[in-house]
Amino acid sequence: MSVRVQSEDFDIGREIAAVMTGNTDIGAVVTFTGVVRGAAGDAAITSMTLEHYPGMTESELEQVEAEAHKRWPLHATRIVHRVGMLMPGDNIVLVVAASAHRHAAFEAAAFLMDYLKTRAPFWKKETDLSGTGHWVDARESDDEALEKWKK
């Protein structure tokens, strides 16, 4: 249950509470929330549709999560990614990393996001004011971000 793909919104407070339950040695919790922005460059965005590859998505997210637990002393992690149609301001993704100390939690959350952005099979299509849809191009900076985690 630590990796989920869903169309419904998530509640960050509830996800953190679930991570804390039964863990008395957590001292640091880092969350990352990705949100639909109201504009792409100069163009206003009216909606965004997220497509994914059921089965492969969960498998990739679980691998990414397992890799984070190998690298850092984490008490718990959680990844929730939404799919379907979203509006500006809507949540897209939540990553939670909990550890005894803050640097492990920060690094693991950043790592999970960098891996997720380059490996998990999600694709975003933005619709602008004219009703035209555009598939979002992958950013080279995301591939570069991943490079720094290579061992």
């Binding site: 990705g34 990614h81 997720l116 099979p121 598939w135 992958a138």
Partner: protein, 85 residues
């Protein structure tokens, strides 16, 4: 060799379907061979694979390179670079 093919994002839109199961000739041995064979199947495939170098592939839910062999594959997916998060 019977393989289920899955297409995502603009590749799906150009081909006009998200999934199909095809009988692939034995001489189509690698992912690169499969891209070539599909491209020759019709204009919608040619349009989908025209920027073949940017397209990513997965065999049975695992990212693979173009030289990956198809032997034993049940499902091959083609998709653009991912843009989640």
């Amino acid at each position: 060799m019977t393989i289920t093919l899955r297409y995502f994002a603009w590749i799906r839109e150009r081909i006009g379907r998200s999934e199909e199961t095809l009988d692939v000739p034995a001489e189509v041995a690698t992912v690169a061979d499969l891209v070539g064979w599909l491209t020759a199947k019709g204009p919608e495939y040619a349009a989908a694979f025209e920027r073949a170098h940017v397209i990513r592939a997965a065999i049975d839910h695992t990212h693979v390179q173009r030289d990956a062999r198809l032997a034993g594959a049940r499902e091959v997916a083609f998709f653009p670079p991912v843009t989640g998060g």
